[in-house]
């Protein structure tokens, strides 16, 4: 073989290898989870919650929301049921700079719910064969320039304030960057466009969010952040403070400014935030605010934590308002949640799936606001067994006669809960969590015939597999 032929042959081999390398870099990632839990409760799946009316959102059981013992017998039958969830995610990575992220969900509200039909969260009756797959997120994640990341499509996105304002899948575009210790984000999200229902013009009867967010690492122990959110809702939706009127024209123009910080000193971590809302919510001039402080402290092999949250409320229904706005105030579409308090009944439960009830289901809490103090301790006993216990104390900030009339007290109740989780296999955990609430005088005499409802409890046995 002549020298040039040799070079040609090597060149071909080289070209082939070069062409192969980028193709081989395509990475297919599959991830998912499965969770099934047995629930015994006089709260979840029982008459004292919005089951089955679902706060006016739907006539069938598709996720209830709120503790409403008002006018019901003081004792209700306890529920016994099993609910189930699977999530599947596929990510197609063309390179470390470009990927498509997807996630899907298949829920059974409770074993035996229905079969053969078309209904989200159903399909667990005999025979199955239900059309019930939900698309949660489909978005492009691309580093389009050096240090500039773009996310485009239906993506999970949450606020920088422990998710008390929004935490949901939402369609939009967000750019984020990283300049040394500064991380700015700018984004736009369209929650809803109802033009098609009204006058067949898209883009004006909309519900949108504009985001400006910045985080700065002052040093390795101190991080600070600030965010500006502009909520503009001109849509015909259900996100009103008025739960009973879900089909009227919204009018929300709200400027929101928040500051957050996190400081670490040895075993102690302190964090917190402050939020100020100024603008108009449903034709009411609104000035509302929220304050939070949190602490975590390593004690022995465990970790203690404490949380405090104040959200302003309003006692009136007209004139200037201090009622806090979040996405959204309707409990049926509460796309936010404060989970750092580790509550099961008093606040939203971290293990809740389709059945998702709380005493405080939204940050605004029907315009009443909230004041809560929470403490807890996590203790890993072995490599496989972890335990935790929590207590919470909560009240409404202002009594506005929600659910019918003025209440005897602002105090909602005291919760105690405990959990133990055991790692059965590498990715499979079996757990137990129980919770009990001593109801406050807010609920005094609100049951049928002026009686006081019995205290709610909830017990779960949970199996969770993630991969």
């Amino acid at each position: 073989m002549k020298r040039r032929n040799v070079l040609a042959a090597l060149a071909i081999l080289g070209v082939t290898a070069a062409a192969t390398t980028p193709a081989m870099a395509l990475e297919n990632e599959f991830h998912g989870m499965f969770q099934a839990q047995y629930i015994n409760s006089n709260f979840n799946g029982a008459a004292t919650t919005t089951f089955p009316a679902n706060a006016g959102v739907g006539p069938t059981y598709g996720g209830d929301t709120q503790y409403v013992p008002f006018g019901l017998p003081k004792h209700v039958y306890s529920a016994n049921f099993v609910e189930q969830r699977a999530r599947l995610g596929y990510t197609a990575k063309a390179s470390s700079d470009l990927k498509l992220v997807t996630q899907f969900e298949l829920d059974y509200a409770y074993w035996g719910d229905s079969s053969y039909g078309t209904h989200r969260n159903h399909g667990a009756a005999i025979g199955a064969d239900q059309t019930n797959i939900e698309t949660k997120s489909i978005y492009l994640d691309a580093n389009i320039f050096k240090d500039v990341n773009m996310r485009l499509g239906m993506m999970p996105y949450n606020d920088s304030f422990k998710s008390i304002m929004f935490d949901a899948d939402m369609a939009g575009i967000a750019f984020s960057s990283s300049y040394n210790k500064f991380t700015p984000t700018i984004g736009f999200f369209r929650f809803n466009d109802t033009g098609n229902n009204k006058d067949n013009v898209l883009g004006h009867l909309t519900n949108d969010l504009f985001v400006l967010d910045g985080k700065y690492e002052v040093n390795k122990d101190l991080k600070v952040g600030a965010a500006y959110y502009f909520f503009r809702n001109n849509a015909i939706t259900t996100d009103s403070n008025d739960l009973t009127n879900i089909d009227f024209q919204q009018d929300v123009k709200l400027h929101t400014l928040g500051l957050n910080a996190e400081y670490t000193a040895g075993p102690l971590t302190l964090n917190g935030f402050g939020i100020l809302e100024v603008g108009t919510v449903n034709a009411r001039a609104t000035t509302a605010y929220a304050l939070n402080a949190g602490a975590k402290y390593k004690v022995g092999s465990g970790k203690a934590h404490a949380e405090f949250l104040y959200v302003s409320g309003d006692s009136g229904t007209t004139g200037h308002s201090n009622a806090f706005y979040a996405v959204f105030n309707n409990v049926g579409t509460a796309e936010h949640g404060y989970y750092d308090n580790e509550m099961v009944i008093l606040g939203r439960d971290k293990n809740a799936m389709t059945t998702d009830n709380s005493i405080i289901a939204t940050a605004g809490n029907f315009g009443q606001g909230q004041i809560g103090g929470y403490i807890g301790y996590e203790l890993p006993l072995t490599d496989r067994l972890t335990t935790a216990a929590n207590a919470g104390f909560a009240a409404v900030a202002k009594d506005n006669g929600a659910f019918g009339k003025a209440h005897k007290s602002n105090y909602l109740g005291t919760e105690i809960n405990a959990e133990a989780n055991y790692k059965l296999l590498e990715n499979l955990t079996g757990g137990v969590r129980v919770a009990y609430v001593f109801l406050g005088d807010y609920y005094k005499g609100v049951a049928l015939n002026g009686e006081t409802p019995v205290n709610p409890y909830d017990a779960k046995i949970i199996f969770k597999y993630a991969f």
Binding site: M1, N351, M353
Partner: protein
Amino acid sequence: MKKVLIAVLTAFALSAATAAFAADVKSSEKDECLLASKGCKDQVDSIQQRIRKINTEIKKGKKVYSAEELKKLQQKLKEADEILNNLDKPGR
């Protein structure tokens, strides 16, 4: 030159053949992939394994990785945590 080319091509052919053999289970060994889902040639990491692997690499620090590479690993860890959090996210 001809000898060099033959040597290069032979080496290439042999390496390819070796790789092909490596994929098969020898007649005297158990097929652990069939038996216990271990050592399968198309095996991929679970999200927990991925997080563990990234953490292990980050711990190697500047002795092994450059500052830029460590930043990339941190970013990958953030992405993996995000995936796990989204899978685990509570609510309706």
